[in-house]
């Protein structure tokens, strides 16, 4: 450095801090600061992380598959729907019930014979309940005028895809209704999506399937 000018200042230099030794890589104060903050961070994380995990856990949890009998096979025909009410979410009483429109699969619509089709009444626009109008053969939503054809395909209004469906099976002569799934505009089954979310093509990536839903049939 400046040599002669710096010399007097060096004489008045502060004494070494306590614990100083020749060749130390960091001061004792700094080491303790880092250690204390690190420990505090670990202690904080030990509280925060489980709490956050507790709150977001339902995203990754899939409930038990639930099947409910809704009537003997003879109750359902090919050319119209029969309305059934069953429990989709347990533990909240009537609020957990939902409505499906059930019929036999139809040869005219190129569906696999001998199966049962259960169409959800949840409008895929925003989730209002749609109604099957016998005279028109259409599903109509009261909220924003969504219209679906006999199969549940959108033919008018704001909905973004066909109506959701439920898996069905026959056990002991009874039709049973199982987990919900969504369909693309080509009626290919995909994992259940919430109303308002498109299905098929690039939308499968923009609205990715959620771990809380069941695989499609």
């Amino acid at each position: 450095m400046n040599g002669a000018e710096e010399a007097p200042r060096q004489q008045r230099a502060k004494p070494d801090p306590p614990g100083y030794f020749e060749g130390e890589s960091m001061t004792r104060r700094r080491a303790f600061t880092i250690a204390a903050q690190g420990l505090g961070g670990i202690a904080g994380a030990a509280i925060i992380l489980p709490a956050v995990g507790f709150a977001v856990a339902p995203i990754f949890h899939r409930g038990k598959e639930r099947w409910e009998a809704v009537g003997p096979t003879g109750d359902f025909v090919e050319d119209t729907y029969r309305q059934v009410v069953f429990t989709e979410t347990e533990g909240i009483g009537d609020a957990g019930k939902t409505t499906a429109y059930v019929r036999m699969s139809s040869k005219e619509l190129d569906e696999e014979p001998g199966k049962f089709v259960a169409v959800s009444n949840r409008c895929v626009h925003l989730g209002c309940p749609v109604r099957f109008v016998e005279a028109a053969g259409n599903f109509i939503c009261p909220c924003h005028g969504g219209v679906y054809d006999f199969q549940g395909k959108r033919i008018g209004g704001p909905p973004v895809r066909p109506l959701d469906q439920f898996q069905t099976r026959v056990r002991g002569g009874q039709v049973e209704i199982g987990p919900r799934y969504s369909v693309t505009s080509q009626m290919e089954p995909v994992r259940a999506r919430d109303p308002g979310e498109f299905t098929g093509g690039i939308w499968e990536y923009l609205y990715p399937p959620r771990p809380s839903t069941f695989p499609p049939p």
Partner: protein, 307 residues
């Protein structure tokens, strides 16, 4: 505009050494004849009762002085309560306080509603009917909370509009605008989560629609919906979740941010409305008018009054 009388702090709460002495001859003890001689006619000595009365009169001031000595609050409070506001300050400037008042109403009525409300999917509706139909004044408190939420949302938007149109968001107050926007979002969160709590048909379907709208956000939307519902469908835990968010999580954040918001308002001061012209810079009085550091009498050169 008539000049309003300035606020005077009553003598009862001012410690004796700080009290303003009465102007000579103006107030205070009535002037009688001057005593001829203190020796021949001394003033009446005080009885114990008089002394106790004097102490009692000073008690409020003593208590405040005791607190102030330990907190130093008076300096902060005087600075906050007697701070200068710019010329042109008008009724529009009360919208922020009005929003704060609406929040206080919500907090107070909310605490009392929580005493009767049951956040359970099977009992929530019955507990709200109980509040509205059986509890004395229950319908009033519930009504204040229900309509008050709309009032708060309206007021917060009016306050935001005032800030925007008066240009009060500009330097150095940008951070306060940002805090205000976060407060707006939190208020909307309160309105959204509170709507489900009565658990009737309207709130049930409104929440479903709200969660579904939220789910249309690409990529994260569906997961956010699952987080809000605590599952793929609206269920029993959804209500508890909304209840916890509504009365524990968000109110704490709102109170903390209101504190920060008001700290910045006091720290930075408020702005004048845009139509008020800035004062001409005051010209320093010529040195010749100063006599030994004492300012001469009369108005200052540019005619500005000193108030």
């Amino acid at each position: 505009m008539p000049k309003l009388p300035t606020l005077k702090i009553p003598d009862a709460v001012v410690p004796p050494p700080l009290r303003k002495p009465p102007k000579p001859g103006a107030a205070g003890e009535p002037k009688g004849d001057a005593p001829a001689d203190l020796k021949t006619s001394p003033p009446p000595s005080k009885t114990d009762g008089d002394r106790l009365l004097d102490q009692a009169k000073d008690a409020p001031a003593d208590v405040l002085a005791w607190v102030d000595q330990r907190t130093g609050a008076s300096g902060f409070l005087t600075g906050m309560l007697y701070r200068k506001v710019p010329k042109g300050t008008n009724w529009f400037y009360t919208l922020g306080s009005a929003t704060l008042f609406a929040f206080i109403v919500q907090a107070t009525t909310g605490v009392f509603l929580a005493m009767f409300y049951t956040p359970s999917a099977t009992q929530a509706y019955a507990s709200i009917s109980h509040i509205n139909n059986d509890v004395p004044l229950g319908a009033l408190v519930h009504g204040m909370h229900k309509w008050g939420s709309s009032v708060m949302v309206i007021l917060i938007f009016l306050h935001m509009g005032r800030t925007f149109f008066f240009g009060a968001y500009k330097y150095p107050r940008e951070l306060n605008w940002v805090i205000g926007v976060v407060l707006l979002i939190l208020t909307m969160t309160m309105a959204f989560t509170g709507y489900l709590l009565p658990f009737d048909q309207r709130s049930f379907w409104a929440s479903i629609v709200g969660i579904n709208i939220n789910g249309t956000g690409p990529v994260v939307g569906p997961y956010l919906s699952d987080f809000l519902r605590a599952g793929p469908e609206l269920g029993a835990t959804t209500l508890s979740r909304f209840y916890a968010i509504h009365m524990l999580l968000v109110p704490g954040a709102i109170i903390a941010l209101i504190g920060a918001h008001m700290y910045l308002v006091v720290k930075l001061g408020t702005t004048a409305p845009p139509w008020v012209k800035a004062d001409k810079p005051k010209v320093a009085a010529p040195v010749a008018q100063l006599d030994a550091g004492v300012e001469s009498n009369g108005a200052s050169p540019n005619g500005a009054s000193r108030s």
